[in-house]
């Protein structure tokens, strides 16, 4: 354990080492990215030297990389030197004092989603009791979890309190120079979640960022690391169905999952970042790297995602099936309405024997939205008797949107069994008229038809999330027909 004196000394040295001049009292870094800025972030977080070195190596790698252009999305180039890479959370003085100060349009959406008032205040960042309530809720949960040896904390806390675990696993699934956005994240990540489930423990509750109070405003470069030790189980929920507004246009998160022998990780996401207005102005660019490693035998990782937000989505939650008999799953609903663009899918890399993977992707395009499924299934030579089942369905609403599918299959072992199904359907006037004739209005008919289309994915979501997701889809597609 480092003493306070050591830490201070390390900080002092660092300033010297990098000729760092920025006032440490300052809460926001000046725009731009450099080794100095990275050192500033690291110092702000009071990180050990190895963490800083790790960030710097990622940054040096990033400098040599070019932004990927292969995705089927178009957007204005990002000026990486104009972004502020560190900003302290807003103080209470800067926060809205009550919901009266919040954009009525956002409140209307909360209303439609049926979000309780207290929760609305929290989501909108109102500085009131709601926050204190949730602090106590969070504390209660944490105590219960720690009795079982489960670690669930912010990434920054983990670096301080569990450095051995972070050092052992960080970057083992998504290397710090993995790709352009992952390298950027590795250099400047702000915060995120850390989860460790000890051997044989079945985590008794869904772990949700919602209960981790400092997960709010984790910023644009979120970093999550989840480790399930032998024979353990955890279900993790990321995001929330309420629309999340953020001043930062670029979001580049990294999520790493490690499942040891007989461990199971279920990771569910509802992503509803601001998609921009109807003309495509504003909106978040969401460039995420999510990958899970089925390290041990019979381990299982299951990704379920409902992607309704963001102007541009670039996201491929993947599984490396290393352990024999390990299982990877990917269930996805991606919606692109108005001018939204989504290029999303998965990679299943079969390494171990008798590994199996399942992919179910549902893409919905409305307005002028463009929806792309991009998936890759690789069966390596070592993967004897591997199996994959893929199903990619697209639904079009209206005639100005698009659906695209790019499935890549690469088999190096002839014992593999591969199944691939794909369909594209249009919400037919026939279907809508049929519903109308039974007394159901067009908007309700569309939401019913779309929910039916997504059913196989929704049933993978934890119960209450599934209900919210259905409502969310309704709101996202509002006004897309007629």
């Amino acid at each position: 354990m480092a003493t306070a004196a050591d830490t201070i000394e390390a900080l002092a040295q660092r300033d010297y080492e990098y000729g760092f001049v920025t006032d440490v009292e300052q809460d926001t870094a000046p725009p731009g990215l450099s080794e100095e800025i990275i050192a500033f972030i690291s110092a702000k977080k009071n990180e050990p030297q190895w963490m800083l070195d790790w960030r710097l190596d990622a940054y040096r790698g990033w400098l040599k990389m070019v932004e990927p252009e292969w995705a089927n999305v178009r957007y204005e180039p990002v000026d990486y030197q104009s972004i502020c890479y560190y900003a302290a959370p807003k103080s209470d003085d800067d926060r809205p004092k009550s919901l009266d100060e919040i954009d009525p349009e956002i409140l209307a959406t909360y209303e439609k989603l049926g979000i309780p008032l207290k929760e609305q205040e929290m989501l909108a960042g109102v500085a009131v009791d709601a926050v204190f309530d949730s602090v106590s809720v969070a504390t209660t949960f944490r105590e219960k979890l720690s009795e079982l040896g489960v670690i669930f904390c912010s990434f920054s806390e983990a670096v301080q309190d569990h450095p051995e675990l972070v050092r052992k696993y960080l970057g083992t699934v998504v290397p710090r120079r993995d790709n352009f956005f992952a390298a950027l994240n590795s250099a400047v990540f702000s915060d995120g979640s850390f989860v460790y489930i000890p051997k044989g423990v079945r985590c008794p509750m869904e772990l949700s960022t919602y209960f981790r109070i400092n997960a709010m405003n984790t910023g644009q470069f979120e970093r999550t690391l989840i480790i399930a030790d032998e024979g353990s189980y955890v279900s993790y929920l990321e995001g929330c169905t309420a629309p999340m507004r953020d001043e930062n246009q670029l979001h580049a998160a990294v999520v790493e999952l490690v499942a040891h022998e007989d461990a199971r990780i279920k990771y569910s996401t509802v992503q509803n970042w601001y998609p921009g207005d109807k003309e495509g102005v504003g909106g978040i660019y969401n460039f995420v790297t999510k990958r899970g490693l089925c390290e041990g035998r019979r381990s299982k990782i299951s990704w379920t995602q409902v992607e309704t937000g963001s102007a541009v989505t670039w996201k491929y939650p993947s599984c490396i099936l290393k352990g024999d008999d390990s299982v990877g799953e990917f269930y996805s609903v991606a919606v692109s309405n108005n001018r939204q663009q989504a290029d999303t899918g998965t990679k299943m890399i079969h390494v171990g024997k008798r590994t199996s993977s399942t992919i179910v992707s549902k893409g919905i395009s409305a307005g002028e939205g463009q929806n792309t499924y991009r998936g890759s299934v690789r069966i390596l030579r070592s993967a004897e008797d591997a199996r994959n089942f893929s199903q990619c369905d697209s639904m079009l609403i209206g005639d100005r949107c698009g659906a695209h599918t790019f499935p890549y299959i690469d088999v190096a072992n002839p014992s593999a069994q591969m199944e691939h199904e794909a369909s594209t359907s249009k919400i037919g006037e026939d279907q809508i008229f049929y519903c109308n004739q039974r007394g159901i209005e067009t908007e309700d008919a569309v939401s019913m038809i779309v929910n039916g289309f997504c059913k196989e994915v929704f049933r993978e979501l934890p119960m209450e999330f599934a209900v919210e997701a259905q409502k969310l889809l309704e709101v996202s597609l509002e006004g897309s027909v007629g």
Binding site: D430, F433, N436, Q437, R438, G439, I440, M448, G452, E456
Partner: protein, 251 residues
């Protein structure tokens, strides 16, 4: 109850209905018979308010209300039901969920209290029994993977649950074997009462052996050329539609 006067309608510039007159009173069963292309299905679609069918002249009234002023769902709320010739599949949407949405949308539009899950289930079970539909059908997605016979029976079940004032059956007999035909007909007969009217559209007389109509109309070339009692159907069966060509127009 239903009054159709001098109805002209077209689809994509082609005039299909050319002056149809039809009056249906509560408690009556009317059969509209005609060969392919005579305009039978167009009449059904126009009554239900399908967008692609344009009414160019004439009027449609249900209980004195002008149907042309009403959207398809409003017509449904007013008690008009169409049993589709080709029932549509809605993958992933449970049959009973769909019906509950339909029932409650209608109740809501009429200012009635919506049914909760328990009450609805009770209603659904009771009606399924009435029209002899297996409960397993209720749990499957709407028409998805249904056989031709199952789809038609499902239409009758929906009708039984929605309890329309006026039910229009569009070639409900097509594609049914004799056993399925009997079940469907029995379902319809179980729903006959003095407040409800039926318009049974069919190509063949066969269905009318089981659903005995009060009135039979022969539709040819977009006009009703002859009307009569149930005996007219048998006459048609014997002579074929050719015998009515150039016959006196009842219009």
């Amino acid at each position: 109850m239903l009054r159709v006067s001098d109805l002209h309608a077209r689809v994509e510039e082609q005039e299909i209905l050319r002056g149809v007159n039809l009056e249906v009173k509560a408690g009556e069963v009317h059969a509209v018979m005609g060969p392919n292309g005579s305009g039978k299905s167009t009449l059904a679609q126009v009554l239900a308010g399908r967008e692609d069918y344009e009414v160019t002249a004439g009027s449609l009234e249900l209980d004195g209300e002008d149907l042309q002023e009403m959207a398809p769902e409003e017509r449904a709320h007013a008690g008009l039901f169409l049993a589709f010739q080709y029932p549509v599949e809605i993958p992933g949407v449970g049959n009973s969920y769909f019906l509950k949405a339909a029932v409650n949308a209608t109740r809501k539009a009429r200012g009635e209290q919506e049914l909760d899950a328990m009450d609805f289930l009770q209603l659904l079970r009771e009606r399924a029994k009435l029209v002899d539909v297996d409960e397993a059908l209720l749990r499957r997605p709407v028409n998805e993977g249904f056989s031709g016979g199952e789809k038609k029976r499902n239409e009758i079940l929906q009708m039984a649950v929605l309890e329309p004032r006026l039910a229009v059956l569009d070639e409900t007999d097509s594609g049914l074997d004799i056993d399925a035909l009997k079940t469907v007909a029995a379902g319809v007969n179980a729903l006959r009462n003095e407040d409800r009217a039926f318009v049974v559209i069919t190509h063949y007389q066969r269905l009318l052996n089981y659903i005995v109509p009060d009135h039979v109309h022969v539709l040819l070339d977009g006009r009703i050329v002859r009307s009569g009692g149930s005996g007219l159907a048998h006459e048609l069966e014997a002579k074929g539609y050719a015998g009515f060509n150039g016959g006196p127009a009842a219009a």
